[in-house]
């Protein structure tokens, strides 16, 4: 047994279970755990198996184009990466964007949060809790009664409606054509919902599909196109012509009205469907409070949604910034991503090497030099690892630390920071939810807490979206139609050397881009992405990362069916496909679960 400095007792004596991949994060993510004779996880190892190398792509490019590259890193966080990138360049060059651009960027970022949270809950995470096959056994009339009890204001609740959905689902499942609900562990006793709740949630899965298509239209309106909306260093690329009619590209009243109606749709869905579902589904899993990991002791948020353009003072951000360490919720530290002592990346357990072992490097001084070697206890070969040796190097993810601490980032981290700081909206939401569910604050530090925080945040972001929409319209009506500041567009106006940092709260957590510019070109570019924080391996001192911590002491019903592992890891919303690799139809399986 080994005790880690961050308070976990690791025991590697039990059976080893390998789940590969859990999902794709900048490549793949794999986890290995040891379970004891009672099927409780006593050691957890999380690894990313794809090399990170954005610096390779961006070196020597025009800093004003970096957003277009970073937008392609990931299939999910496109807009957030682009926003972080333009912020980093603006920070380096001292550019302040117009008020309208700040409001529009905030609306786009909030819109992306809501989209991501809704899609994550219904389409990527719900099936860890909801069993769509069981929904086929539901009584539509009882489902209708459940729906009306759970959310009286939601109009789609008749027995006939649920019967139709059930029939559609039945036809779909019987056609056997599809992958959507394939490979689930549908007879696993970890699934606890009655058929009616399964039918209700599966129905909302379909409703959310329709909603998400509407949500993204905001990106088409402000970004000119979607997918891959346009971004601009110095502002936003959409001109405003408020009296224009049907003009190509320009924002006019007609388009703003469309944005307004989409914001209303989001708010209605959050209020009538998303939050009631989390409460209803969560109610059946109230005793499944595993998965807290680092959330009660070490969390980090950079904060986001600035009230004023390019002003990232903690007091000016609607999504809170701060760091909590050692479980002391009474003290929230401010975070400065420029400070070389705060954010540092370590590589002692990562497949990289630094000139000085054991030392952490600030991203501005980041070095990405690969050193691929397996530890002596690893099993398999260099090209086919059967079992990792976590006492040596074992991941392509670096280990970022805040003042040496492993941190959790993401919606729960933001909500813990906000709650600890007494952020009024967040505190009211959290207290209200806990009261409704009759749960203590400590229940927040769990897999379900993470999932609930995401839902609350979606609701809060919806309100903020409305706030910035009104602010934008007021400003335009007062005669300000400016959306871009191009004073420093020309590289001739730039200093010979400059460095900057861009921060956002991506849906899955704190995201930072650090840039160095030299002679008008990118000299170094480092992204520390949320999944790097959460999925980090051990560090020099032996602290385990957030994924690893969250799996500790979880009971598994059937170790060869890792529902519980997936449930907890998915609750972090780890980044998805960064490249859509394709397989032959008889296909090599990418998914394996091995019990050794």
């Amino acid at each position: 047994m080994t005790a880690t400095p961050n308070g976990f007792n690791l025991d590697t004596s039990g059976r080893r279970i390998v789940v590969d991949p859990v999902t794709r994060i900048e490549g793949h993510m794999r986890c290995e755990v040891n379970v004891d004779e009672g099927n409780v996880i006593r050691n957890a190892v999380s690894t990313g198996t794809m090399w990170r190398g954005l610096e390779v792509i961006l070196k020597g490019r025009d800093p004003r184009d970096a957003w277009a590259f970073t937008e392609r890193i990931c299939g999910v966080c496109t807009g957030t990466h682009a926003l972080t990138s333009v912020r980093a360049v603006e920070d380096a060059l001292g550019i302040t964007i117009p008020d309208n651009a700040n409001s529009i960027r905030n609306i786009m970022q909030l819109n992306l949060q809501i989209h991501d949270h809704v899609v994550h809950f219904y389409h990527l995470h719900a099936l860890d809790w909801v069993n769509p096959i069981n929904a086929l056994r539901a009584d539509p009339k009882a489902t209708s009664e459940l729906q009306q009890a759970v959310s009286p204001s939601h109009p789609l609740s008749s027995p006939g409606y649920f019967r139709d959905v059930q029939n559609r689902l039945k036809k779909f499942v019987e056609s056997g054509q599809l992958g959507l609900f394939k490979n689930g562990y549908w007879d696993n006793p970890a699934y606890l919902l009655p058929p009616e709740a399964d039918l209700m949630a599966t129905t909302h899965y379909l409703e959310a599909l329709d909603l998400q298509k509407e949500i993204v239209k905001v990106h088409t309106i402000f970004g000119g196109k979607n997918p891959h909306p346009n971004w601009l260093v110095g502002g936003v690329p959409c001109p405003i012509n408020i009296d224009g009619v049907g003009a190509v590209g320009a924002i006019n009243m007609e388009r703003l009205n469309m944005v307004s109606s989409i914001i209303d749709l989001c708010n209605t869905f959050n209020r009538n469907v998303y939050i009631p579902d989390v409460i209803a589904i969560g109610g059946f899993y109230k005793n499944w409070l595993y998965g807290g990991g680092l959330s009660g002791q070490a969390v980090l948020a950079y904060g986001d949604i600035p009230e004023h353009p390019n002003n990232f003072d903690a007091g000016q951000l609607h999504l809170p910034r701060g760091a909590i360490i050692n479980g002391n919720l009474n003290e929230v530290h401010d975070v400065d991503p420029r400070d070389p002592e705060q954010v540092q990346e370590f590589v002692d357990h990562s497949w990289y090497t630094y000139a000085e072992p054991g030392k952490g490097l600030h991203p501005w001084d980041g070095v990405t030099e690969p050193r691929y070697e397996l530890g002596p206890k690893a099993k398999g070969t260099r090209t086919n690892i059967e079992e990792l040796d976590e006492s040596a190097k074992y991941s392509w993810i670096k280990a970022p630390r805040w003042r040496g601490h492993a941190m959790e980032v993401g919606p729960l981290a933001r909500y813990v920071v906000g709650y600890a700081k007494g952020h009024e909206d967040i505190k009211n939401q959290v207290d209200g939810l806990l009261r409704t569910m009759n749960l203590p604050v400590s229940a927040l530090f769990s897999t379900l807490g993470r999932t609930a925080a995401r839902a609350l945040e979606s609701e809060y972001c919806g309100r903020l979206q409305k706030y910035f929409f009104d602010k934008l319209v007021t400003n335009i009506k007062n005669g300000d139609q400016s959306t871009a500041n191009v004073e420093k567009w020309d590289p001739k106006t730039w200093p010979k050397e400059a460095k900057g940092v861009g921060m956002t709260e991506a849906p899955r957590g704190a995201l930072g881009h650090w840039i160095r510019i030299k002679d008008g070109r990118i000299d170094n570019y480092q992204c520390v992405v949320p999944t790097t924080w959460n999925g980090s391996p051990r560090d020099t001192k032996g602290n385990i990362g957030a994924f690893e911590a969250s799996l500790m002491n979880t009971y598994m019903e059937r170790p060869d069916e890792p529902v519980e592992i997936l449930r907890t890891l998915h609750s972090f919303d780890p980044c998805l496909a960064c490249s859509t690799h394709v397989m032959s139809p008889d296909g090599d399986t990418l998914t394996t679960v091995k019990v050794r």
């Binding site: 794809m50 020597g60 184009d65 937008e71 392609r72 299939g75 099936l127 891959h228 691929y372 998805l576």
Partner: protein
């Protein structure tokens, strides 16, 4: 127009341009947009790796033509065209329940909603190299683009589309990452290291 001719067609390139031959699909759409003039009912789209974001575009279409890099187990650079029921099987890896939205899932979701295009055609190219982050198309794959466009023209013609020489409006990538700018602006291997995980960079062993 005969009843079998689709009234709305989506031509989609998918894949991640940052991963060498993964960019095949997106580059085909770029090439098609600058080679032919297509009527308004044909929409050209760079879909990237956008998963569910692409759903609304599918739902609006009666027919879907997709370009993608596909591992058919054929000689690198070989083109293969499959249609309709065969398409989903060729796209997207097997997965652990619904946690990775590959394009296969997007098609399945459109089917679940009962709003999937009636006609599906996939023009795939066997890649040479997928694991070179920051790299461009390998020569065999780049040389396959004209053939892929010929297949696309024939397919579109069969769907009753009139094709003229010229250019088409399309939702394409930002100019900084279109093929020429992207591939020519790459830093040298000396400036920016390209080796990595042996599982994905077997050449580096």
């Amino acid at each position: 127009m005969p009843a079998t001719e689709p009234s709305s067609i989506l031509v989609l390139g998918i894949g991640n341009v940052l991963w060498a031959d993964e960019g095949f699909g997106v580059r085909c759409v770029e090439a098609l947009a600058s080679a032919v003039a297509l009527p308004e009912r044909v929409r050209l789209l760079d879909g990237g790796t956008q998963g569910l974001y692409l759903l609304p575009f599918l739902e609006e279409a009666d027919a879907l033509l997709v370009f993608d890099a596909i591992d058919y187990g054929l000689e690198p650079g070989t083109l293969k065209l499959v249609r309709d029921d065969e398409v989903p099987a060729f796209m997207g890896a097997r997965k652990m329940s619904l946690h990775q939205t590959g394009f296969q899932d997007v098609i399945a979701t459109a089917q679940l909603l009962g709003r999937c295009p009636h006609k599906l055609t996939l023009i795939g190219c066997q890649p040479v190299e997928l694991e070179d982050y920051g790299g461009g198309l390998r020569p065999q794959v780049a040389e396959a683009i004209p053939g892929a466009l010929d297949l696309a023209r024939a397919e579109l013609a069969a769907w009753g589309v009139e094709i003229a020489a010229g250019r088409s409006a399309a939702d394409l990538a930002d100019p900084s990452i279109r093929r020429t700018a992207y591939e020519q602006g790459r830093p040298s291997a000396e400036e920016a290291c390209r080796t990595g995980d042996a599982r994905f960079f077997p050449g580096s062993l």
